[in-house]
């Protein structure tokens, strides 16, 4: 017991001395230390920046999921990975509106669904003012309930608008401003292309979206689903659905797939030519992607740490040979092998820690840089605490691993030979 206590106390003395000594060594050889630790700095900076970006993206997606609701299911055409349809033109695998008729009766886990069309971009005008490149979406009334875009003025699209194929529209506040419409613009006629539509409501601005979004700068107009076919004869259709609860969302996906295979006449054995994705799916996909990115990044970081580590080993070997006489002297005045080993090991670990610290600093700079790039959804990027821990852990490990060989070399030196060294 006493022996162990002594050993521990002895280690701490040595630790204390060695840390100060190695810091002064690093300071004395500034240029060398900077060049040596650059590998570690780059490694740690890049790993923290990548982790920060991914963490930010994930935080973003999670907030998105909260606003969209995790019960949402997206359905869209997709080329199968195999089979003859692999290179089929998009047009041939498009959804037809009637393929979804009766879906609610056949899919008990689906609460509601809404078809929507993308009627392309049109020039919208009101009196002399016109705005180009406004995206036009035809939606069924249920889409409102699935995708929460509250109407802040007027009313949402109704079943009657749909049935009567009315030329009515919902606009967003940005378009209202751009067209110089009154604040209360309900009932005003605007021209979409060459067709007159009457405004029935104003939607709240779109929340920043990662999926199916398009960019923030473009305005959107929502018109009834059927009316959109008046603007253009043939349109691509996508479907939003909502499962009855998050628990049955997988069931809902299966039911929809089964239903669509029948309505789209896919024979048994043929692959699906559409995809049914829940938000959960998207999250899973993101996590998978994040994992791949993390792995690729860690590979690169691993290589840079390896290179950095070799640099550390090299410089420690130089240090050991430069300070051979010092090692001899220390041994002559009573330093044990273990003491010399500890001293040089601590020196290389301190060197790596300094590199890690600088690396985290650079990582933080990079993260701030990434977060401030406009139009890239990374403004929530942050370095999580565990990433800092991992960075330090890795730099320490590199220090120990690559410092071990030089330290052993130093510890094994014969004091007489060492003192004779020139």
């Amino acid at each position: 017991m006493r022996f162990i206590m002594r050993a521990i106390i002895g280690f701490f003395r040595l630790f204390y001395q060695s840390v100060f000594l190695s810091l002064s060594q690093i300071w004395a050889n500034k240029t060398r230390s900077i060049l040596t630790t650059i590998g570690i700095v780059i490694g740690v900076a890049s790993v923290t920046a990548v982790i920060a970006a991914l963490s930010g993206l994930k935080a973003k997606i999670l907030t998105q999921v909260e606003t969209l609701g995790s019960n949402t299911i997206f359905i869209q055409p997709k080329r199968p990975d195999t089979g003859p349809l692999q290179h089929a033109p998009w047009w041939s695998i498009r959804f037809l509106p009637e393929q979804f008729d009766g879906m609610l009766e056949h899919c008990p886990s689906v609460k509601r669904f809404g078809r929507q069309t993308w009627a392309g971009s049109q020039t919208v005008s009101f009196r002399e003012k016109s705005v180009e490149n406004v995206s036009i979406r035809g939606i069924e009334p249920d889409c409102h309930k699935i995708e929460s875009r509250p109407v802040m003025l007027g009313r949402p699209l109704s079943v009657i608008d749909e049935m009567q194929v009315r030329q009515v529209c919902l606009i967003d506040p940005k378009l209202r401003n751009d067209l110089r419409l009154d604040r209360d613009c309900i009932g005003q006629p605007i021209l979409i292309g060459h067709n007159t539509f009457y405004i029935i409501g104003v939607l709240e601005p779109r929340p920043e979206s990662l999926f199916g979004g398009g960019d923030q700068e473009r305005s959107e107009i929502f018109i009834p689903f059927k009316t959109s076919f008046k603007l253009q004869r043939y349109l691509y259709i996508g479907v939003l659905a909502e499962s009855k609860s998050a628990e049955v969302s997988e069931d809902a996906r299966a039911e929809i797939s089964f239903f669509l295979r029948r309505t789209r006449n896919i024979k048994p054995g043929e692959p699906d030519n559409f995809e049914v994705m829940s938000l959960q799916n998207l999250l899973d996909m993101f996590n998978k992607m994040a994992l791949i990115v993390t792995m690729v990044a860690s590979g690169i970081v691993g290589i840079s740490l390896l290179v950095g580590g070799v640099g550390i080993m090299n410089i420690m070997l130089v240090t050991v040979s430069e300070r051979t006489r010092e090692i001899g002297l220390r041994k002559a005045v009573g330093a044990k092998k273990s003491a010399i080993l500890t001293q040089f090991l601590i020196e290389s670990v301190v060197l790596c820690f300094v590199g890690g610290l600088v690396g985290i600093g650079f990582g933080q700079l990079l993260t701030t840089g990434i977060a401030n790039i406009p139009k890239v959804e990374l403004d929530m990027a942050y370095i999580p605490l565990w990433a800092i821990g991992i960075s330090f852990g890795f730099s320490g490990a590199v220090g120990i691993f690559f410092g071990m060989f030089p330290a052993i070399k130093a510890a094994r030196l014969d004091p007489i030979e060492a003192l004779r060294h020139e």
Binding site: A332, G334, A335, P415
Partner: protein, 261 residues
Amino acid sequence: MIAAEADKPTIKPQGDKSVIKLKDITRIYKVGVERIHALDGISLELKENEYVAVMGASGSGKSTLMNVLGCLDRATSGYYGLDGQDTTKLSDAALARVRNERIGFVFQSFELLSQLTAIKNVEMPLIYSRNGWRSRRKRAQSVLERVGLSDRIKHKPNQLSGGEKQRVAIARALVCGPSILLADEPTGNLDSKTSESIMELFDKLHQEGQTIIIVTHEEFVAHHAERIIHMKDGRIFSDMPSNRKKANETEMYHEEQGRAS
């Protein structure tokens, strides 16, 4: 215990306690198939507070003897007792402890660490010592006073003259309160005037009770000692009291005579 010894350096130990006892020490180096007898059966006894100079031409084995005495090297065969303890069977770690606590080295080229101040250099052996840690600053200071450098404590080696550097090195050798002070050509890098002052310091330490062994090839250095051992071909060629010792003894004899009368 060691600290106590260091704190009371002026008490001159009495009696004939043996510090070093060598019996048939050999040290054989193997170079290829050849066997070089660097030490070839050395027997020697050193009493407490002896002041010995080891002389000899290069290759006579005096450096090897020094390394063996300093526990830096192990004898190939024979018995080496230090303070009555057999050192030949000690482990490396135990030998390191012996070097730390009982042996003080002074080198020809000082071997100070250039990035440390004088006092930090002197403190250095106490880092490796079991019970020197807490009082290290105080002990280093008192030992620097002993070698006459109390005003140079914060200076780095490059701000010190050669003689001052050697004084720091001597202070470092003394800080752990060693049984023997081993000096290898301590004046080899110094001019004659500085050498003389360093030798006076050794004389003073001897007077304070320190056992000292100096390896040298300079006659005037050797004549400061009380006993001169000449080595040749790994053996002791001659071992006799120096003129100084004789002079001292005559002096003491005369003093006693004077007191008696």
